[in-house]
Symmetry: C2
Subunit: 418 residues, 2 copies
C-alpha cells in the first residue's frame, strides 16, 4: 500500500478508535493476545526468515537473540497485551472543570493524540507493545520497523489486523509501512497532515535522524549518559552497591550508569574500594588524573580518561570517573555532559541531596538509589512506550498518559465576547 | 553577538534563572516594568525609526498601527509585567509523590523548560510579554523578532537587560537576535543543544517555515479556521448573536469564526435570518448551493462558495456556509477542514451537544458560546503566550504552565534493581 494511503486510512481509523469505550478496547486487546498465541507457529515461521537473513548478513549474536521469537517469547508478548488491557483507561477523564465569571464552564478533557507513528529497530516485541498502548489510549498507530524484522512484523501486524476486523473495527487502527528504504522513512516523517506525533525507539543514530528530518512533532527517547555522584559524606557500601547495580545489572540500556563523579575528599579511599567490585564484574575504569592515580594507575582495566569519555554512552563494561571539589562542581559537570536522562547522588548530607535534586537538569534525579529504576514498570505505570529525554509533553518514563492529549470543552448558554 | 554565543549564554543564564525564588523573580519583573515606563521616551525614539522605515517600505496602515508605541501603550506593556508578577509561580510544585513497594519515593516536580526561543513578527509588545512569562517560569528566552520592529526591540531588550544587571542577574536571561536574515533564523532553529523549545507567533507562513525547518521541538500556535455548527434545534437568536460576535468582534484573530455549518432542515429559514445581521456588518457570505439559494442568490454580498473556501482562514469580513444533513456530517466536515483551533455547536439537543464535544477534533470545543473566548485571559490563566493548535505538550490557550516541564525526583535509601 502507498504511504499516503496508509496515513490517510490511519487518520480515518483514529476517529473510530478514539470513540471506543473501555470495554470494547479491552475485549479487542484480549482477542489480539489470544490470536498471537494461536498463530505462534506462523509468527515463528516468518521470524525464521528474518533470523536466516540476519545470519546471512552476519548480524551479531546479541542482535540475533533480540530478534528471535519462540513460543515462550510470543506468550510473553501476548501477556503484555493482557496487562495493558488490565490498566485503567485514561481517555475521557475531565481534569478540571471551572465556572468563569461569565458563566462559561471550561473543562480540560483527556483525549487520544490521534495517529502515532513509531519508528524503531529490530525488536519485534515493540510491534505488539506499541499497538497495545496506542490502542488502549484510542490512537491509531503506524509502525515503521527495521528491515531486519520485516517478515516477523508483517506476520504480527496481519494477525492484529485480522483481530480488529473480527471485532468489527477498522484494520487501519494498526498498520505497518513495509517499505524499508530511507526515502519512504523520510517521507513518512513529514506526514504532518495525518500523523500527530512520532516516537523513535532505537539507537542514538536513529533518534538523531528522526529529530533532524521530521516535521511531525517528535518525542525524543532514549540515549542516556547517566552519572552517579559520590558525595563526600556518602556511605561507601551503599555507593558501591548502587554503582555496581547501575553499571552492570544490564549493560546495554539507557538507564545504565556510564560515569562516576567523585568528591576529591574521598577519591583516594573510595576509588580503590569501588574498583574492586567493578573489576570483579570486568568493568574497565577510566579516571581523570586524580581518579586514575587513586585507582592505582598500573592496574589492569584502569585507564586515564580523555575529554571524549565525559560525553560517552558506552553501553558496555566501561565506566569513567571525574573528580570534583564540591557538589556544585558535580552538578555543573553533569549538566554539561549528560543527556537529560537519569542522574544520582549518593550522600548522607541533607543540603547536598536537595541541591542535587533541584539543580541537576534531567528527567529523573535520584538520591541514594540506582539509575536503573528509570522505567515505566518500576515507576508503577504498568507499561512503557519509551523514556523521554526532552522537556516537552512528557519527560522520563512514558506510560499511557504520554499517549494522550487534552482538549478544552466549554459549556455555554449564549455567551459572546464583549 | 554571534548566534552561538547568544545561545550558549542563554543556556548558562537559564540555570541561574531556574533557581530564583518567586520573590526575587517578582521583584525583577516589577523593576523591569518601572524601567520601561521610565525609559518610554527612548523606546518611542527607537520605535519612530521602525515606523519611518515601515512607511518607506509602504507598510499598510493597519500594520503601522500594530507597530506603533506611544506612552499609553508602553504603560500598558509595563502593566502586563506587573500582572505577570501577581500570578502564582508554578515552579517547584510537586504534582504527586508516591511510595513504591521497594520504598522509593517518586514525585513529579514542575520545573522550567530551560531556554525558550520565540520567533515572531512585527508587534514589539510580544518582546516584553515573552520575557515576562518566560522569566516568571524560570526560563531564559531568546527573541527573534521581525526586521520591521528591530529598533524598538533593541531598545526594549537593552532596558530589560539593564534591569537584570541591576538586580545582580545574568543579562542573558533575555536576549535578542539582532540579525534579521533568513540564514540566521534557520541556524537558530537548529540549536537543539542550547534551546529547549521554539514558539513561533505570527502568520501561517511564519509558523509553517518554523515547523518545516526547526529541529528544536516546536509548539505550533495560531492559525484558526473556526466553525460554528447551527444544529436543527438551535435557538435562532442565540445562533445569530454568537455568529456575529465570533465573526466580527475582532476580525484578524485566530479564534474568529470563518465558516458556518448549517443543518439542512433550517437552512432556508436560518440563512436569511443570520444574513441580515451579517450584512449589517458588511460580511460577505459564501454559501454552498443550498445556502447560496437560501441567502437569495442575487443579493449583494452573497456568493457561491467553492472548494477552496472550506479550508480558508479569511481573517476578513467574509464567512462561508456549508449545509449538512446531520450532526455527524457536520463533525466530519469540521474534522476534515479545521485547523484544530476552536469549534462551536449551537443547539438545544443534549445528545448532539455531547456528540459534538466528544467527536470534534480541536483544542477548544464549545456548546452555545462564541469561539472568541479561546484566549488565556478569558480562560482565567492571567496570561497568554499563544494558542497551541497541536496536540503535544500544550493544546489550546497557553498560560504559564505551558512554559514549564516536569522532572521526576526520587528519594531512596540504597535501593538497587533486582
Amino acid at each position: 500500500m502507498e504511504l499516503l494511503e496508509i496515513c490517510k486510512n490511519a487518520k480515518e481509523a483514529s476517529y473510530v478508535v478514539g470513540k471506543l469505550g473501555t470495554d470494547e478496547k479491552n475485549r479487542t486487546l484480549l482477542a489480539a493476545a489470544d490470536a498471537l498465541t494461536a498463530n505462534a507457529r506462523m509468527i515463528m515461521e516468518a521470524n525464521a526468515k528474518d533470523i536466516e537473513n540476519g545470519r546471512k548478513n552476519n548480524m551479531p549474536e546479541a542482535l540475533i537473540d533480540r530478534l528471535l521469537l519462540n513460543e515462550a517469547r510470543i506468550e510473553q508478548i501476548a501477556l503484555g497485551l493482557r496487562q495493558v488491557a488490565s490498566l485503567e483507561d485514561p481517555i475521557g477523564e475531565v481534569l478540571s472543570m471551572k465556572r468563569r465569571p461569565n458563566g462559561l464552564m471550561i473543562g480540560q478533557k483527556r483525549v487520544p493524540l490521534g495517529v502515532v507513528g513509531m519508528i524503531y529497530e529490530a525488536r519485534p516485541n515493540v510491534t505488539v507493545d506499541a499497538f497495545g498502548l496506542c490502542f488502549k489510549t484510542g490512537n491509531a498507530v503506524i509502525l515503521k520497523g527495521g528491515s531486519d524484522a520485516i517478515c516477523s512484523n508483517i506476520a504480527i501486524v496481519s494477525i492484529l489486523q485480522q483481530t480488529l476486523e473480527r471485532q468489527g473495527l477498522a484494520r487501519a487502527a494498526v498498520s505497518l509501512i513495509e517499505a524499508t528504504d530511507r526515502e519512504t522513512a523520510a517521507a513518512f516523517m513529514k506526514m504532518n497532515e495525518y500523523v500527530d506525533v512520532l516516537i523513535p525507539r532505537g539507537g542514538a543514530g536513529l533518534i538523531r535522524a528522526v529529530v533532524n528530518q521530521a516535521t511531525i512533532p517528535v518525542i525524543e527517547t532514549g540515549t542516556g549518559n547517566c552519572h552517579i555522584y559520590v558525595d563526600e559524606s556518602a556511605d561507601f557500601d551503599m555507593a558501591r552497591d548502587i554503582i555496581v547495580n547501575a553499571k552492570t545489572q544490564r549493560i546495554g540500556v539507557c538507564n545504565a550508569c556510564e560515569s562516576l563523579v567523585i568528591h576529591e575528599a574521598i577519591v583516594d579511599t573510595f576509588v580503590p574500594y569501588v574498583l574492586k567490585a567493578l573489576r570483579q564484574k570486568n568493568v574497565e575504569f577510566r579516571g581523570d588524573a586524580a581518579a586514575f592515580a587513586a585507582a592505582g594507575a598500573a592496574l589492569e582495566g584502569v585507564k586515564e580518561a580523555d575529554e571524549s569519555d565525559w560525553g560517552a554512552e558506552y553501553l558496555d563494561y566501561i565506566i569513567s570517573a571525574k573528580t570534583v571539589g564540591s557538589v556544585e562542581e558535580a552538578i555543573a559537570h553533569i549538566n554539561r555532559y549528560n543527556t537529560g536522562h537519569s542522574e544520582a547522588i549518593i550522600t548522607k548530607d541533607y543540603a547536598n541531596a536537595e541541591k542535587f535534586l533541584n539543580e541537576v537538569d534531567a528527567a529523573c534525579v535520584y538520591v541514594n538509589a540506582s539509575t536503573r529504576f528509570s522505567d515505566g514498570f518500576e515507576f508503577g505505570f504498568g507499561a512503557e512506550i519509551g523514556i523521554s529525554t526532552q522537556k516537552l509533553h512528557a519527560r522520563g518514563p512514558m506510560g499511557l498518559l504520554a499517549l494522550t492529549s487534552t482538549k478544552y470543552i466549554i459549556y455555554g448558554n449564549g455567551q459572546v465576547r464583549p
